[in-house]
Amino acid sequence: MSQMPQLSACPSCEEPLESGDRFCGACGYDLSGGLPASSDDTLMLNVDAAAGAARPADPGPVPGSGSAAVPSAGSVGVPSAGSGSVGVPSAGSSSSAVSSAGSAATVHLTLGAPGAAAGGAPLQAPPGAVGAVPPQPSGSPVSPASGVRFDRPPEPEEYPLQAPDPRVAADAQAATEEQKMCVACRAGRVDGDGYCENCGHAQPRERDHMEQEAGPVAAVSDRGLRHHRNEDAFSVGNSVLPDGTPAAVAIVCDGVSSATRPDDASLAASRAAGETLLAALPRGTHPQIAMHEAIVAASHAVNALAEEPATAREHAPHQNAPACTIVGAVVTPGLLVVGWVGDSRVYWVPVDRSAPPARLTEDDSWAAQMVAAGLMNEAEAYADERAHAITGWLGADAYELEPHTASFKPDRPGVVVVCTDGLWNYAETAEEMAEAVPPDAAVRPLHGARVLVGHALDGGGHDNVTVALLPFPPPSQGAGSA
């Protein structure tokens, strides 16, 4: 998404465009190749990563052994629980920002199998976090990912890890050339505002369905069946660490519907976070620090939206500051880092399905807090109508930004599922999620993401659904899959 150009004139008739135009006012040309760029992300607030209190153990710890060690910067010793244990968080009180963030993330779970090589080893500084920044394959920190695609039939997944050709955008343009006619009544032309000149129906928007592949990572986002627009957004990319090993990144954001311009919020947040990560990782920044910084950058980007005048369509007497959730994951050959604010989640699904899957994030939600505080059991909490009210989000009206980050050292290959509640509402537990993830998701992540979106739509598609899949370990560039 980050490489989509902002068009200044219609590619078809050269008519000057205004930002926000979805169709050319003169010739009706579909401009969906270029989303309006969000404002520059200015870092204005000094948000401190609050050290959250350690949370109680994840309900229903996964049996197994090995450990997921939660790190803190500078590798303050994480109690190694050894095999058969649930990972114990570092109460890291070291002075660095990440350690406090790390301490806020106290996800307890196990990723490995008994006797796993990684078992019990506390996470150390990321491998190869030293050294010069290697040249970027694309010459920019932005991933050489493909353009956004539209509803194309599933391609034969050739899946060589090579960067898809950006010129595929031409395909999309050619495909949308014929969309000047209304898709609802097939009789009217589409006007400059994206509505049919005959029946008035809104035309499909670029964000209604988005797919993107970036190296080994893929993401799919869909409007769902019950919402009129897609307020989710994502950003995926890949990069190379200073030691030459690959890293893959995915960020998924879910706009808060009750706020103003949730779609703008999620787009700005996912872009800012993705760009921050892809800029920081090649410099050797510890992925967990980078994740923390990315969430802070995303929050600044969303906060900045509150200062912009609302678009003409959406002025309302009672404005809520734009807001969204964020969840992200970074995979490197030895490390899996997650970060989040809100109720979007990350799941771990091992390739070997005999090993247990796990949920790696802890929702900032009313229900999760009730359970964490011991006031209700999970069944009671999730039955409450307030269950899904979120208690943490990005936005100018957030009480306090509490970016949670955690890092894991999986001992076996698997796939990381980064998703919004539009998906996990239909696969809540790790086991259900693992069942929904196709067996070949690690090697065909785009296909896997499509399947998961399909799972949510089959379930009713009550919300926007967005999912990104990252294989672990990330295949090295140009090599075969892991």
């Binding site: 009544c185 009217g188 006007d191 505002d193 509505y195 049919c196 000149e197 005959n198 029946c199 008035g200 129906h201 809104a202 409007r223 769902g224 069946l225 019950r226 919402h227 009129h228 627009r229 519907s257 003409a312 369509r313 002025h315 309302a316 007497p317 009550h462």
Partner: protein, 448 residues
Amino acid sequence: MANFSKSNVPAFSMDVYQNEYLPEGGREVNAIVTVSATGGGTVGSAVAAPHLFTPGQGPSAAVAIMVDCSGSMDYPPTKMRNARDATAAAIDTLRDGVHFAVIGGTHVAKEVYPGGGRLAVADAASRAQAKDALRRLSAGGGTAIGTWLRLAERLLSPADVAIRHGIVLTDGRNEHEAPEDLKATLEACAGKFTCDARGVGTDWEVKEVTGIASALLGTADIVADPQGLAADFTQMMETAMGKEVADVALRVWTPVGTTIKFVKQVAPTVEELTERRTEAGPRAGDYPTGSWGDESRDYHLCVEVPAAGVGQEMLAARVSLVIPQSDGGVQNLGAQGLVRAVWTDDMTASTSINPQVAHYTGQAELAQAIQQGLDLRKAGDFDGATAKLGRAVQLASASGNADTAKLLAKVVDVVDAATGTVRLKAKVAEADEMTLETRSTKTVRVKK
């Protein structure tokens, strides 16, 4: 007809206030469209927009002042004297260069100044001559307002000007003309010029005066005390001099399958426009709004759309401002508003009522309740009148329409405004009742 260059048109802007969310199966879309014109030179310079006209200048305009000279104007004689003074004050307010005429009205219309079927051009000399001519005005004869308007139309139409405006002053009922004749005249004059109407004293018919103003897109008011005429005429003429663009129409486009349930002006006064639609191409219609200076008005648009499934979105109406040209073309004034419909299963979203829509729905009901209450009171149905006027008191109080609340309090004793509990006053001054009826359509804007 209108001969002004594009640059003279003030800048129009449009805002749409609505709750676009409908429940599954929901069909009715309501929106308040606020239209503001800025850039006017003479009125309300609070807006820091670049002024198109320097003070003392303005678009070319022609004005006809129609003064009632029927026999009743001499009872009391101060009425005729005050009408003369008021007309003189209005003439003094004319900008140099404005075309004008004074018409004396009885059962026939007579040119008082300049005469000969012409218009005078305002300057120091013509203003003095006109005021001189006013001395010849004397009372005697009947009242046939339609003839006055027809003469005004004959005088104003040939003028090569941007703004054509009339002012009617009457003190009595339109007795010497069939109501159908007045109606036909109003239809003939509509769109030719705009006209304000004033009733002086208390012997005139409210519905006649408001009907003239409504048909000719002007204002109506009562001047119960003839002494207030000069100030009112001056203010009216100042407003007329502030107009910069005439014949503006609200163009509403709706998609196939939709029905426009109503289009109403709701601020500054309630004015029903639904029946005044002129077709303007496929699925579009124009609603007249008259001439504009530096001002802002609100319109309530209600559209019925075909039901659609949850998650669907459509454009229910596209509203724009145009000036239809004599050659069939239009000049588009640029401002545009979109009224949308989005179906959702979020009950909170679909059941909330937009505060602007709620407010103006209440203001329209307020105007209706006053009119119905006063009609019932005249008809002797005191229970019905009490109920309607009680409701009006409640609405006026809740919406902060203090002016209307004050007028109501002169007609009913308010026991409890919040619940609308009132008693009809045993004795009501005729002027108070007529004032309430004339001003019942005045609305206030939403408290921000």
